[in-house]
Symmetry: C2
Amino acid sequence: MKNAFYAQSGGVTAVINASACGVIETARKHRNKIGKVYAGRHGILGALTEDMIDTSKESRAAISALRHTPGGAFGSARYKLAGLDKNRAQYARLIDIFRAHDIGYFFYNGGNDSMDTAQKVSEIAVQMSYPITCVGIPKTVDNDLPVTDCCPGFGSAAKYIAISTREAALDVASMARTSTKVFVLEVMGRHAGWMAAAGGLAGEKAGDAPHIILFPEITFDRELFLAKVKLCVQKYGYCVVVVSEGVRGPDGKFLAEAGTKDAFGHAQLGGVGPVVAQMTQQAWGFKFHWAVADYLQRSARHIASKVDVNQAYAVGKAAVELALKGRNAVMPVIVRKSSKPYRWAIGEAPLSAIANQEKKVPRNFITADGFGITAACRNYLSPLIGGEDYPPYRNGLPSYVSLKGVSVVKRLRTPFVV
Amino acid sequence: MKNAFYAQSGGVTAVINASACGVIETARKHRNKIGKVYAGRHGILGALTEDMIDTSKESRAAISALRHTPGGAFGSARYKLAGLDKNRAQYARLIDIFRAHDIGYFFYNGGNDSMDTAQKVSEIAVQMSYPITCVGIPKTVDNDLPVTDCCPGFGSAAKYIAISTREAALDVASMARTSTKVFVLEVMGRHAGWMAAAGGLAGEKAGDAPHIILFPEITFDRELFLAKVKLCVQKYGYCVVVVSEGVRGPDGKFLAEAGTKDAFGHAQLGGVGPVVAQMTQQAWGFKFHWAVADYLQRSARHIASKVDVNQAYAVGKAAVELALKGRNAVMPVIVRKSSKPYRWAIGEAPLSAIANQEKKVPRNFITADGFGITAACRNYLSPLIGGEDYPPYRNGLPSYVSLKGVSVVKRLRTPFVV
């Protein structure tokens, strides 16, 4: 009976711990087949440095509470393993660790890069004749993994952005007569505009905010943008803009980089939100406000999508079940069965089909003028923000769990410098 | 039987419509004493320009839904009436409007400035021998009105800030090993640090985020701040900062203004959040992230404090009851009976005691080093974020009401230019 290794990788989400919960609870149901689940402290670094948490020391209640706790309970890492040919020592070290701790299952919870890592681990295990079953678990607010219909983490960020846009728009609408005319909300999504698109769900009929969405998939056109802002202010009295941090100008540079410099000549501090807001003031004299959601949008467990929480748990559970069936180098995916009513199931895909791919917002999801979402996009996005899954509260605040985090005793004599 | 006039003034909140709901529902219960409630479109401008909404045309369900709808349903205005001596014509115009529409009750829902206006209206009514009962209704996320223990609108913004701080901190803690070390959340509060203080509720034990709060009440000391950031990163691995937009340096200038200039020499786009975040990178090389909550914090009805919603409704209701008792030039206030358990009641105060006053965070609510909140502050703040009051949802989004907004037929022949 082998132990399992689980790690969180890359930017965390409001529901990545729900996947961890799915992994651990499911493993505990198969005590006859899986021994202990060791979680890497700070992702793959935890394996490389033999710094692991023994999840068997955590109570059933604590593991259950992971389902409603945002962030990465075991610590995550932005650390990409080099290619097999470039840093074979890293992969060999992983195998050493697995061997020392009798680990037969490798669960890696992350995005594109992480699936690449998981695949390489499975390859080197074969080369080094160490039997291990590697299963990826999808996670990313960016929603940019291929094959899977959506990515756990995205639905909750999308719900947060749609709600925030709707709420802030009501505020601006109240004030526009004598004060703010333009409100800009900056959201994440460096390469793909899924989160920006989610802002579009805030509006349901013509004239509703947001009036303009700026996608990384559409080259920013200053004149068209300014003309549309002016038109909206004339027509509705105000204009709400949702802008992706990844928007680029015709020169291919991020708009956020095109802005100001400080007294030392360093690149400007603000993001793209303040840049486009300021633009409207310079052109038309409109008073503006802007917000940058940043980490708030990917940690807002208080308003997580129930669908997203369920899917995050389901992919964690499915990963263990796939591993127990001996499926190697695969990742559970979300398969959409129907949109209205929304029905989904868990499928699987080879890691090779997922690794290093990026799914952008398709052109037919963006309106002809490049500033809004189409009915097809709405049809795709709407189910993903469905349902609320409120965490428990104590003293007016969500009661999030802190794990004991008991370390696994080290067995290797050699340290490893990362 | 006289009609009533109601208007929303200044920056709106997540619960100002709950006060409107309290006013209208209570007035409807006294149909034998109060005729119709006319709401000014865009605050006092609606009175000056005879642009009013007849709330009697709204269904019971629509008025009830105001309780869970953020923003200002009738439109608000940032418009301060001049002093009586300076623009007597404005006040005379108000009396003309009241006379034309048989208005005997004036309910003004706002902050310090608004209470000043309400008081002046009551004075000129006496001078012009027009009998009207003027009652203020407190509202401000800034929590800076005197006499009242707290201000409706603040509790919900405070809850949003405390939750956002807690959630983002979990995210940062996960990532700190290989990525972001410093996270800065910028909150509102130009003159008083109540909202910044609310961020302090996110932490419950030593070492919990936020590690640093920057108050407008404490002059910013760059060296002390940077030293504390470094200490936190060394001790905890990361540092979470909540900064009030109103923080000033030793020169008395807003820190937000001390930042960058754009290519045209205009003042920098970013707020104080990016300024202090960047500072830590320049000094220590820490990778940072920052968020600016802006309107999101004062419109976040999805996570409103139940206590706040109840109090907002209660002051609206009490305003009508005070008016019916003939109390003039007063404002209902929140009176704290006890903190543990939290018990409160509605009292009243003369408008003259409220107008143009500003209640800042007292020094004994701020820790000796100027970077945190004391137990006394926590004791004061904690009950105000108590309880959740979730709005209804449809398709994954809060279902907020849009009123029909039927205009009252104009009776005056002369327009009024504001």
